[in-house]
Symmetry: C2
DNA sequence: GCGGACATGTAAGAAGTTACATGATTAG
DNA sequence: CTAATCATGTAACTTCTTACATGTCCGC
């Protein structure tokens, strides 16, 4: 369901074509809920069929501009309000659980790489924090999501160091 | 691929039937990589077809006991060593991004619930930390995974409070 | 006129979920 | 004998990925 509401949510913010949406997905949701072109066009068809979005304009090259309908906006608000249920899978923790099946060197190497990876991710987000202008209240939620990323990667770094220490590197 | 290696990894630790594996998934991997019965039996068939596991015993009620083959163990070690690539999707952050589409009260309520949810999860893990015996080195990686959970939920709580403060609750 | 960006669509397959279906064994 | 547990399998459907396919418009 998430792709459905990601698409609907972007359209609720402002109308656009599948092509537009695809670039919006790449720019703003790549690290949160990536979508492929193939998936997106399929979802747009289904959203329109269900009356949650509608075509508000048609342009050159078969371009179809969609906008969220009132019913779509209501469905979005409802989805935002209700609790989520599914346990997110973690390929990282799965590896940690299975690490005893590899040799001790592989384990140490694993956490060393986790640390480095998290450091790269963190500096990438710190760069975004530095270069963006966060005065605008429209960006407030983007700032909150960014804060999540900053804290998350910081935690990852500390955890990976803790694990290495515990394993006696 | 993850389910494949989760299954293989559990079998590499000790042999078992599909039914056994299912309970092991429920007990030890429910929060990391859940698997349904339907998925598991299918995967066992494919793993055997590919020579990564083999039937080492057959018992009552059609019970088939599988064990990892040498080729399977090698494949597992290789998978544990190479880097993962896919970005994990985050339904939580997706909601945060779309929250401006709901009213301000919904946003505050969202973070309040995030905080409570994380608090429950954290105390659940703290309970596990208290009740388990962590002296055994076989449990070391379980302890490291647990530490991840503890730090993760602590971070979530702090983040949710930070967000509420920022939104002016 | 031609290359690059614009624009949409479909097909095949892997992975995951839910539900259905069937039967054997054992403990009480 | 009968209910619970053991035990495996299949079918239908959704979601996601990768690749293929096709055509238009604009700037140089």
């Amino acid at each position: 369901m998430s792709l459905r509401f990601a698409t609907l949510g972007l359209l609720a913010r402002s109308p656009g074509s599948g092509y537009d949406l695809l670039r919006r997905f790449e720019r703003s949701m790549a690290n949160v809920w990536p979508a492929t072109q193939s998936q997106l066009y399929g979802e747009l068809g289904r959203l329109e069929r269900d009356g949650l979005i509608e075509i508000v304009d048609e342009g050159a090259r078969g371009r179809k501009v969609y906008d969220a309908t009132e019913s779509g906006r209501a469905a979005l608000r409802e989805w935002l309000t209700k609790e989520s249920d599914t346990t997110p899978r973690s390929a990282r923790l799965l590896r940690v659980f299975l690490l005893p099946e590899a040799d001790p060197d592989a384990a140490r190497e694993f956490f060393r790489r986790e640390e480095q990876h998290a450091e790269r991710d963190l500096s990438h987000l710190e760069e975004i924090l530095r270069t963006n202008d966060w005065a605008d209240t429209d960006h407030d939620f983007g700032r909150i999501a960014l804060e999540y990323g900053l804290r998350f990667h910081t935690m990852e770094i500390e955890w990976a160091r803790w694990a290495q220490k515990r394993l006696g590197t």
